[in-house]
């Protein structure tokens, strides 16, 4: 596929090519000539009514691509998806973002979109859990909730008239993410699914697949219902921030986190669609081979994962028939 920055020796290159060819034949579905560059003509049955989408144009009666990318067909719509495109948000998407600015009554987040997304103070639960009007004091204390450079998980609420995005983080499962690492991959690799929050019990790790390509892998944090917090607990909580150096994550947990993170890196280099199941399988493959965590980023493991995926998909397609 695109130039993998991996030192592959001859046999590895051949194996990888074979795996990719197998995957391509399996996903045929009239998409065999899917990748196009600028001015390539797109294969369409001109008698059927079709809609020209983004990245296409009518040139001398022929449908021609205007960007380099992959042709996608959805019912009658034909469009070209660019390869390094920014995230395309939809209402209700779960996204992970980084705070870039604390402004008046709102936070601005970077979410790999053309503009910064906005999280209003009113769309955020107050730390004490009480539903009330936000006062001027709340506005001044915004930094105690989120500061610059914090990683936050939220949901897309709506689009504003100028095209920018509004987010909301009302539920307890949204909010600040700590104790872990953030990975950045291409947005098109994360497809919309029923669940984006995954709690991997056997590892005790939280995995959040943001649809904007930001993936969070971190220690599991219990979702607390703030309404139940009583006086005793709140006194406890106010004492905790005074601790200067909270303990580091345990080594075992850290190993799990790094293994999962590397699995995600491998899958994104190979260009496979991310979902929790595939990530878990990759992690299990690496543990079954007793691979050193860092060796997961080596070329041999990449080739193995590609071959495994090709086999898995061919099995699935055989079952379907």
């Amino acid at each position: 596929m695109r130039g993998l920055k991996l030192p592959l020796n001859q046999t590895q290159r051949i194996r990888l090519q074979r795996a990719f060819e197998k995957l391509q034949t399996l996903s045929a579905k009239a998409n065999s000539d899917a990748s196009v560059t600028v001015a390539d003509s797109i294969q369409v049955n001109y008698e059927d009514a079709f809609l020209k989408g983004h990245g296409t144009t009518d040139l001398n009666g022929e449908l021609v691509a205007t960007v380099c990318g992959v042709v996608e067909r959805v019912n009658k719509l034909v469009y070209v998806r660019g390869l390094r495109a920014r995230y395309k948000p939809e209402v209700g998407d779960i996204v992970v973002g980084r705070i870039v600015e604390v402004a008046q009554k709102r936070w601005r987040l970077e979410i790999n979109f053309t503009q910064d997304a906005v999280l209003m103070l009113s769309s955020m639960n107050m730390p004490d859990g009480i539903q009330r009007r936000r006062t001027a004091l709340d506005e001044l204390n915004m930094r105690s909730i989120f500061e610059e450079n914090d990683v936050v998980c939220a949901e897309v609420r709506n689009f504003q008239h100028d095209g920018s995005l509004q987010l909301q983080a009302r539920s307890q499962k949204y909010g600040k993410l700590e104790k872990g690492q953030l990975l950045i991959i291409d947005p098109y690799l994360v497809k919309k699914s029923k669940q984006h929050f995954h709690h991997l019990e056997q590892f005790g790790v939280d995995l959040i697949l943001g649809r904007n390509g930001f993936i969070w892998v971190g220690e599991h944090v219990e979702v607390r219902d703030s309404m139940i917090i009583d006086q005793a607990n709140s006194a406890e909580q106010s004492a905790v921030p005074e601790e200067k150096n909270p303990a580091y994550t345990s080594l075992e947990m850290r190993q799990h986190i790094c293994r999962i993170a590397n699995a995600i890196r491998v899958l994104s280099t190979l260009g496979f669609i991310m979902d929790a199941e595939l990530i878990m399988q990759t992690v299990e493959l690496s543990s079954s081979l007793n691979l050193n965590i860092h060796d997961m980023l080596g070329s041999e493991f990449h080739v193995l994962v590609a071959e495994r995926e090709a086999e898995r998909r061919s099995l699935m397609s055989k079952r379907k028939r």
């Binding site: 991996l6 914090d150 990683v151 600040k176 993410l177 953030l182």
Partner: protein, 287 residues
Amino acid sequence: MVGLSAGEKHFIQGGIAQDLRSDGRKRLTYRSIYVETGVIPQAHGSARVRLGATDVIASVKAELGRPSGLQPDKGKIAIFVDCSPTAAPMFEGRGGEELSTELSVALQRCLLGGKSGAGAGIDPASLVVVEGKVCWDLYIDGLVISSDGNLLDALAAAIKAALSNTGIPKVDVAAETTGDEQPEVNISDEEFLQFDTSGIPVIVTLTKVGRHYIVDATSEEESQMSSAVSISINRKGHICGLTKRGGAGLDPSIILDMISVAKHVSEQLLNKLDSEIAAAEASDEES
């Protein structure tokens, strides 16, 4: 550079303290090095080195010139590094100039030795053609295409690879000429002399985060550093150059400890680099 939240910084520091970094590496493990030689056909030698997401290119051009009056039996070598604005947002416009100068000076110190030319990693005496009259001027240029930490190590590796890829054209000097006249030289297009790169050192940068030091830091880890020491070591285990960055003070015993750690790491690095360069040259000849 993108900022990091307090939680992420804590995670990185914890990883370094527990000897398990964010991508699973140990404190003294390098990322996989990927070397390609001959990437710039117009230059006499070139190489591209990828260290994780850090991507640098080094090129070597040789021109005939006059040796300086003070050292008539030595050629001249100049090393310059340029940080391309596409490497990182902070390099936009003139932002990369400070870093470029810093890298150039560090590389010059490590590879070129003192003012008199003594103790250089690259032997300038091998560049002279006619003593006092004609010598080769080597211009070594480094370009940073993508920056993800540890630029100095990557650049030193790229320069080593580029020099091993360099072919200096053979020069035929015309017969004896009198005192001040410039001898006629005939530059051959066919025959090339390979450079001897066994004496060229590599640079190992040790970044101190908290109480431990790591090798080959990514830019996230570099943002957490208190200080960094770059040590240039050659095959014999001798130190060819030493640079310290960062404002925090270091106890002298720590520096001595860092030097011994760097010596140990440099052996593995030299072997790995030599094998990668050999592999790159071999595949370069095939294609």
